[in-house]
């Protein structure tokens, strides 16, 4: 390359008390380039990004941006310097409106007063560019995770920056939104804007990225044009293994569970349930020994249905039966007593207790099992936790590390561990592999399969926006659209395209132009 690099990072170091997150990270990004940042969970990708943009102060190393050595001390400075960032955990203000979130920090004013009408109008155009249509005056918290993610992207676009950083923007997006996002990235590239992109989905990297930098244990191990590196090589470098050890297999590590015995009473029967206005007339049945995948577009009400089953939100109409007896949970505790467990999609707000340790988080739902007369048996707890950490491969400085210090993927594993130790009859998984690296994803998928395979009295409901996961991991697929159950399909025969059509229009053959109502 004869061009001057836009960003040049060399020997970046950063450690937290106890853990070294970055020991020797290097990254060089040229103008107009889409650069992938790859690495296992906990490899240090987010830390690199946060250190670059001034959230963390680095311990050593040098950063040059536009040929100048720089040292941003706050995201404000980074933004002013021409870098706009979408961080991994969505960081927007839920109580404020969508438009305000888009423009926060660079609001249009007139005579030093906020120009709200202009703000709303421009926000609406920007949101349309990323393909979502919402009232910009709505409080942001009213949007689903995916829509919030799109708002964050719209926000990043609103800054005319030289470099846009996206830390796992697609983890909560559906294919269609991913397509929109990639169009947007393409446009950026054409405008000469560089993009740093992290994702655990290899397909996406190959589709959109020009180059890749692979981090392992806080150090850059390889940089290469995307075209020069094969999938196997990429994964092997990332995991630090020999390519020959990584055999090419299917997309996911699921082994499709055996079909349950026919004619048995369902474990869970949900009949025409409406809840919270977003889940209307949903129906679902789950048999013992089966995995039911729930597919749907952004905001189709899947999470809402899960919330209703888990007793989180009140049911307006309809009824549910659990092994033939009426089931009307009024709280999550009710559901847990019936041995129904849920791993929520939003791990930061409704999943983990941030300041608690890994161990304490894992055993939070089984406190009565590890205690006698309210006194916790430490050894029992340690044993359970050690097994779980081991089998899920949680990377940490020890079981006593607070979970908010873990990398995103490792947090997801801890969340999953909490449900698994419960040994629930019905396990509801809402986006179970969100933000998990390929290696760990396979482990998680294997665990889900084996849980059902080994315990034929249990069932799993798996909500996922990843087609492959749904198709390969479940027996049956339930499709939701606008809060309604529109179809049940047999997973062994359905194809990716069919599924897409059902989700979009409800019957095969109709056009797919209708956008999901994301409100």
């Amino acid at each position: 390359m004869d061009q001057e690099p836009l960003l040049h990072i060399e020997g970046l170091q950063k450690s937290f008390s106890g853990t070294t997150a970055l020991s020797d990270a290097c990254l060089t990004v040229y103008p107009g380039e889409v650069h992938a940042l790859m690495g296992q969970n906990g490899a240090g990708k987010s830390t690199l990004i946060k250190t670059l943009t001034g959230i963390y102060t680095g311990d050593g190393g040098k950063i040059e941006f536009c040929g100048q050595p720089i040292n941003f001390r706050s995201p404000y400075e980074a933004q002013r310097g021409g870098i706009s960032t979408i961080y991994q955990e969505i960081n927007l203000v839920g109580l404020r409106s969508v438009a305000e979130n888009v423009f926060l920090g660079q609001e249009p004013t007139r005579f030093s007063a906020l120009n709200r009408s202009r703000m709303d109008k421009e926000a609406k155009t920007l949101l349309a560019r990323v393909g979502i249509d919402v009232d910009p005056r709505l409080p942001l918290a009213r949007l689903s995770t995916a829509a919030q993610q799109m708002v964050a992207i719209a926000r990043a676009l609103s800054f005319r920056s030289k470099l846009v950083i996206m830390d796992e923007p697609t983890s909560s997006l559906h294919d269609r939104e991913v397509d929109t996002l990639f169009e947007v990235i393409d446009n950026l590239r054409q405008d000469g804007v560089s993009v740093i992109f992290t994702s655990h989905k290899l397909d996406e990297l190959y589709r959109i990225c020009d180059k890749v930098t692979i981090l392992r244990d806080g150090r850059t191990v390889r940089t290469s044009p995307m075209a020069d590196i094969s999938r196997i090589e990429l994964v092997a470098t990332m995991l630090g293994k020999d390519p020959r050890q990584i055999e090419a297999s299917g997309q996911t590590a699921f082994e499709r569970p055996k079909a349950p015995k026919p004619g048995v009473e369902p474990l869970l029967d949900v009949r025409r349930v409406s809840s919270g206005g977003l889940c209307r007339d949903a129906a679902l049945s789950l048999h013992a020994g089966e995995v039911v995948g729930v597919a749907g577009l952004l905001g189709s009400g899947r999470s809402e249905l899960a919330a209703a089953v888990y007793g989180m939100s009140a049911i307006d109409s309809g009824d549910m039966e659990l092994s033939g007896t009426p089931y009307k949970p009024r709280s999550a505790r009710d559901a847990l007593k019936k041995r129904i467990s849920l791993t929520p999609e939003d791990r930061k707000v409704s999943g983990l207790v941030g300041p608690m340790s890994i161990s304490e988080n894992i055993t939070l739902s089984i406190l009565d099992r590890i205690s006698t007369f309210g006194v916790i048996r430490k050894n029992r707890e340690e044993k359970i936790v050690a097994e779980m950490i081991d089998s899920l491969g949680v990377k940490s400085s020890g079981p006593q590390q607070p979970v908010n210090e873990l990398s995103g993927g490792n947090q997801q594993k801890v969340l999953l561990a909490r449900s698994l130790v419960l040994e629930p009859k019905i396990l509801i998984l809402d986006e179970p592999t969100r933000g998990v690296d390929v290696g760990a994803k396979a482990e998680i998928q294997r665990m889900i399969s084996s849980m059902v395979a080994n315990n034929r009295d249990r069932g799993v409901i798996m909500i996922s926006s990843e087609m492959e996961e749904i198709i390969e991991g479940s027996n049956r697929i339930m499709i939701m659209r606008d809060g309604e159950t529109v179809a049940f399909l047999d997973a062994s025969t359905v194809t990716n395209g069919q599924l897409m059509l059902y989700m979009a229009s409800g019957d095969t053959g109709a056009d797919v132009s209708k956008t999901g109502d994301i409100r």
């Binding site: 203000v93 109580l95 404020r96 920090g105 906020l114």
Partner: protein, 342 residues
């Protein structure tokens, strides 16, 4: 799974009406204190018309419960909206009143700006400790309250600092336009400016954003420390002005004055519907909350005189229960509006 078009439409219509009803409710919720204030005023006008005699109205408009508490409450609204709390309000108020009294011999203007400047300085110290020292505001301002009580005693040489009755600032209190005291006009002007800043400027929006989610605001590139710094400075400055008006009312700087007023001011802010956790609030609500509390004080004094004896202990109980009632109504309303997810 097919449903007729008609059925769908009627469902949507139902949802729409529910939505509209919710909008109306939101309107009342958003302004519940304003509504409550108006109804209390109407009730008083009907059942105690004599309460509104010009003298009474005039003194009420100039009373410390309205003016001093009001100024502190406006400041507290800014601080609370960022998710912080300012317990040093009354301390700043008293210390500033002594500063103003000490500066009185050098003229009214110096005294006025000296006191406000002192308030801003103290607020800025609070703000700096919170913003850059990353200390919890509860403890910073609590310590500041203690320190200010000590400082006030030192400045007043353990005594009191009287000022002349024809001192410029006292004139503030005594001048009236019709039955409206000048202090009230100044207070109203400050209320309007604050309302504008809070709802119509970038700064106001940043205040609410920081209160809504500090971490996110930081990551979105807001200068969070500066926001903290400024809200405390504003709060300090307004409390300083409250000190000036306190001096105008009592003509004496007294270190023992205004004990516990910070809690009254904070209670008023909360009555006004501002979330203590930050991110949501209104200035109009705060002002109505202040007016409501001031009215309750006055009414209790007044009812006392109508042959119904309410001794001061019972008054406290009633005050407490009144605040409770308002807060509970609000909490219910908020709960009703988002009965989702526990």
């Amino acid at each position: 799974m097919e449903r007729s078009e008609r059925e769908t439409q009627s469902r949507y219509a139902k949802l729409k009406t529910r939505e509209r009803f919710r909008d109306f409710r939101t309107l009342i919720q958003g302004n519940s204190t304003v509504f409550m204030l108006s109804s209390v005023l109407v009730l008083l006008a009907v059942f105690m018309p004599r309460f509104f005699n010009p003298y009474n109205v005039s003194t009420m408009l100039g009373s410390q419960d309205l003016i001093c508490i009001g100024l502190m409450a406006i400041g507290a609204t800014f601080v609370i909206s960022t998710g912080g709390i300012d317990l040093s309000l009354a301390g700043v108020c008293v210390a500033s009143s002594i500063v103003a009294a000490l500066l009185a011999p050098y003229g009214a203007w110096l005294s006025l700006f000296g006191a406000i400047g002192f308030g801003i300085l103290i607020g800025a110290i609070n703000g700096a400790l919170v913003a850059w020292g990353r200390l919890p505001s509860f403890i910073v301002t609590l310590a500041m309250l203690m320190a200010l009580r000590g400082l006030s005693l030192i400045m007043a040489d353990r005594g009191r600092v009287p000022v002349d009755r024809d001192f410029g600032l006292v004139v503030f209190q005594n001048t009236k336009l019709g039955i409206v005291p000048l202090v009230f006009i100044v207070f109203a002007a400050i209320g309007i400016v604050s309302w504008f800043v809070y709802t119509r400027t970038r700064f106001g929006l940043h205040v609410l954003a920081v209160g809504g989610d500090e971490q996110a605001s930081l990551m979105m590139g807001l200068r969070v420390p500066l926001v903290h710094f400024f809200v405390f400075s504003i709060s300090g400055g307004l409390s300083g002005l409250a000190g000036v008006f306190l001096l105008a009312k009592t003509t004496t700087g007294n270190p023992l004055e205004a004990q516990g007023w910070e809690l009254t001011a904070i209670a008023a802010v909360i009555l006004g519907g501002t979330l203590l956790t930050g991110g949501k609030g209104t200035i109009t609500g705060t002002l109505s909350g202040v007016a409501l509390l001031a009215l309750v004080f006055q009414v209790l004094n007044y009812v006392n005189g109508m042959g119904i004896e309410i001794n001061t202990y019972l008054q406290n109980v009633i005050r407490g229960l009144f605040v409770l009632a308002v807060v509970v109504v609000q909490a219910r309303a908020v709960l009703g509006s988002k009965k989702r997810r526990t």
